[in-house]
């Protein structure tokens, strides 16, 4: 070697050229990589295996049923990125739904006013979760298990387990109507997703949420108001759950006490499939909703194929496991050395 004291920049000349593998690796390191591949595979498989899958009618069914879990998933994804979890989102959705029934039918309030009150109720429930967790320094998982019991119990006390019928037709458009050829709940989901994604990517608040999830103590040291943001996130998740609940009431035309029963685990699974880290700091609401789409398609296909309802849970659960394993394996393959 002619010169023995290389400047730091010299090493740049000797850098390895990006190989195909390196390029693949950078694509694979994107948190959305796994979920997009899985979605494509499932979509193509379903379309070839069933002629009833890729029809306008079936797509509308999927879109409509996706909307409710999708809304809850957005809220849960925000919390998971923050490093929290709320297991009472389903109970909040159910409580907000039956409260809507009570406001509209039993109290005879204006349906739109009732809608606003329901959303306020859900936001309030989320706010209460957040305040208890931050003020008493409780673990969110444990606290929200307890609160799920409280909100679910309030639901039963109010309804005695009986559905409230006679929901006014004026809000049924929200659950059953169509705009731009798409079901209204699905359009509402898209609007919420665009708004939340924008906040997460392009505003200080979104950056703070990622920062807190990545390193809570460092965020505090930097002067970020960690507890205030955590409370807000729980409130947002409560709001989104209540929105899902009231849309479900509008769609069914009755306020069922059982609304929200299935909204606890599916959104968490969807978020994980969509690349949201259970430890916080990674992923996006968009990815989480794509995860929810996968789960929605699987549930739809099970029905289309006429699989026995007794097997449905095993099949959908199994596919979730396969989807996240595939993602993890792909990641490990491309990150083997580091």
């Amino acid at each position: 070697m002619s010169h023995d004291t290389p400047a730091p920049h010299d090493s740049a000349a000797a850098l390895p050229q990006p190989t195909t593998r390196a390029r693949l690796k950078s694509v694979a390191s994107n948190p959305l990589f796994g979920v997009v591949i899985a979605l494509i595979v499932i979509f193509v498989l379903s379309s070839t295996l069933s002629s009833n899958f890729l029809t306008a009618f079936n797509m509308k069914i999927i879109a409509r049923s996706l909307a409710f879990v999708g809304l809850v998933t957005i809220g849960q994804a925000i919390l998971m990125i923050l490093g929290e979890l709320d297991l009472s989102v389903g109970a909040i959705g159910g409580l907000a739904g039956v409260a809507g029934g009570i406001f509209m039918v039993q109290a005879g309030l204006d349906p739109w006013l009732s809608l606003v009150l329901c959303l306020a109720l859900g936001t309030g429930c989320g706010l209460l979760n957040g305040l208890l967790i931050t003020k008493l320094r409780l673990h969110s998982l444990v606290l929200t298990i307890g609160m799920a019991g409280v909100y679910g119990g309030a639901n039963l006390v109010l309804t005695k387990g009986v559905a409230i019928t006679g929901i006014p037709g004026s809000i049924s458009f929200l659950g059953r109507g169509m705009v731009f050829g798409m079901p209204v709940p699905f359009v509402i989901l898209l609007l919420c997703l665009v708004l939340v994604s924008f906040v997460m990517i392009r505003t200080p608040l979104g950056r703070y949420i990622y920062a807190i999830g990545s390193n809570n103590a460092a965020a505090r040291m930097l002067g970020i108001r960690v507890d205030a943001i955590r409370v807000c996130a729980f409130a947002a998740a409560g709001f989104l759950s209540a929105l899902a609940g009231i849309l479900m009431v509008a769609r069914l035309g009755t306020a069922q006490p059982s609304i929200g029963d299935t909204w606890v685990l599916a959104p968490i699974a969807a978020a994980v499939i969509g690349g949201v880290a259970t430890t916080g700091g990674l992923g996006s609401p968009f990815g989480a909703v794509l995860g929810a789409v996968i789960i929605g398609i699987i549930e739809n296909v099970i029905v289309l194929f006429g699989i026995s309802p007794y097997w449905q849970s095993i099949v959908s659960g199994g596919i979730v496991v396969v989807a996240i394993s595939f993602d993890a394996l792909a990641r490990r393959y491309f990150n083997r050395e580091s």
């Binding site: 505003t203 390193n215 040291m221």
Partner: protein, 501 residues
């Protein structure tokens, strides 16, 4: 006798050549120092020697056999990582002999008694202050560090021991214990690789030194006849003036008071009062565990305060509210870079811009153009070496992470900056860069507090040094009129005023 020979080792990661044709020979009964600045490739090299990283090219021969082909040979290498990685809720003995199969204690059932008995001998040999059945969480950090070394030594018939900056959380007394252990091992014919930034250690222990710079080997040299200046020149590639001082110019002292702390009391410290004037770098000296960081974090609102108050620029700082402290211009740079500094999963760009999201946002929306411009400016100004601002910060070397964090703090335009052990685990070249930054800031009128356990660092930078002992202020010394020995006497609590809290 040569135990391990590495030649032509090359390792690349996407975007970086971490190691470029490194040769290294380890001989029995010799201490081989590995020196180099942060990011020079020391960590990658020792991980390669320990069999944890597979090189792209080169050969690695252990006991005259090819270790890259026969991975079992790496059992001859005992590796002590720099970071503590013990099981906090298991006992000292369990930690020492984990995994049990390796140490012969876990064929079917684990015999606590036999294990604890055997642990006793290691505890005595390594001078660890702990009982075999104590939980790790109950013993001190220095003892944990020594335990890590003891654990590596339980590996049967190891021939090479690699110690990666083993003294970074040890006090002077424990460092001495460690030196005795290293000397013992050397006498037993173990080949030791010792990574360190501290000159006294390098010159006390080393037989041979290999200097790395930018992933290349500058060469291996005998320590005999080596001088400090020469070694630093080899490491940094430039001449650093060893006697350079970094006190701010006296002309910047106007007598204006920036910070007043009065009777601050909280868990771990009592009745702390002091003042910081414009143009000063106020040093805080004290042994590990005397409450230095606790006091700083309490001032900043990160820890609970029982009584007392903090006034910055004439305004009272609300207790327990770090966000308000930051808004009034107080910024604290923690000693724990990993736990309190970086956001490991976020990019260098996001790590820097987080502090100033408001300045780069228009009507509440972040402008990527402004963000990039600001981040590029800070990266250039503070010489943060990264292949791209989009790289996750956890993949940067410690020194570059630290410079990114200082740059971020500066973007906040602080009135008072608290540096808590700012050069821990950082090479000399970067150290001096950081000293120069502190000096410049102090001259610009920003209040600087420097907490350090390195006396030479305080002597180089501080205008006044406050000593702490057992959670209380012991004295306040002017840099110009004070000898190091006076400071040392003060921080070890000697003699007449020795005080037990």
């Amino acid at each position: 006798m040569v135990l391990l020979e590495a030649s032509g080792i090359r390792k690349t990661y996407p975007g970086v050549v971490a190691l470029d044709h490194i040769d290294l020979t380890l001989e029995a009964g010799k201490v081989h120092i590995l020196a180099g600045e942060n990011g020079a490739g020391k960590s990658t090299l020792i991980k390669t020697l320990a069999g944890l990283v597979k090189p792209d090219e080169g050969t690695l021969v252990i006991d005259d056999e090819d270790a890259l082909r026969d991975h079992k040979l790496f059992r001859r290498v005992a590796y002590v990582p720099q970071e503590l990685n013990l099981f906090p809720y298991l006992t000292v003995a369990e930690n020492m002999f984990m995994p049990f199969a390796r140490s012969g204690f876990g064929r079917i059932t684990v015999s606590e008694k036999a294990m604890e008995q055997k642990a006793e001998s290691f505890i005595a040999r390594f001078g660890i202050h702990a009982r075999p059945n104590q939980k790790i969480a109950e013993i001190s950090v220095p003892d944990q560090q020594l335990l890590q070394i003891a654990r590596a030594a339980t590996q049967e018939n190891f021939g090479v021991m690699i110690l990666d900056e083993p003294t970074s959380s040890l006090t002077a007394r424990e460092t001495e214990r460690l030196f005795r252990i290293v000397n013992d091992l050397r006498a037993q014919g173990v080949a030791i690789v010792f990574v360190s930034h501290k000159m006294e250690e390098i010159f006390t222990l080393g037989d041979t030194v290999t200097v790395l710079r930018n992933g290349r080997s500058v060469g291996s040299f005998a320590m005999e006849g080596m001088t400090e200046g020469e070694l630093i020149r080899l490491m940094s590639g430039s001449t650093v003036k060893l006697d350079e001082q970094f006190q701010p110019a006296p002309s910047s002292r106007t007598g204006e008071t920036i910070l007043t702390v009065e009777h601050l009391t909280g868990p771990g410290f009592e009745d702390i009062s002091f003042e910081l004037k414009r143009g000063e770098i106020l040093g805080f000296a004290g042994l590990v565990g005397t409450g230095r960081s606790e006091i700083m974090q309490a001032m900043f609102g990160f820890r609970k305060v029982q009584s007392g108050h903090v006034v910055l620029d004439g305004k009272l700082i609300a207790p327990n509210r770090p966000d308000k402290a930051v808004r009034s211009g107080m910024v604290y740079l923690s000693e724990e870079r990993k736990h309190h500094g970086i956001f490991p999963m976020l990019s260098v760009r996001e790590n820097i811009s987080l502090a100033v999201t408001r300045n780069i946002a228009k009507a509440g929306v972040i402008s990527p153009r402004r963000e990039n411009a600001l981040v590029r400016e800070i990266i250039a100004q503070f010489d943060v070496r990264t292949s791209s601002p989009a790289k996750k910060i956890m993949f940067l070397s410690g020194g570059n992470q630290q410079k990114a964090i200082i740059g971020r703090a500066m973007a906040l335009k602080p009135r008072l900056l608290i540096f808590d052990e700012p050069t821990k685990g950082i090479d000399i070249g970067t150290k001096f860069q950081i000293y120069r930054i502190m000096q410049r800031l102090a001259e610009e009128g920003i209040g600087i507090i420097l907490v350090s356990s390195e006396m030479s660092e305080l002597q180089r930078c501080a205008t006044r040094i406050v000593t702490l002992y057992s959670g209380r202020i012991k004295g306040s010394f002017d840099h110009e009129t004070t000898e190091i020995s006076t400071l040392v006497a003060s921080i070890i609590g000697s003699p007449e005023t020795s005080h037990v809290a």
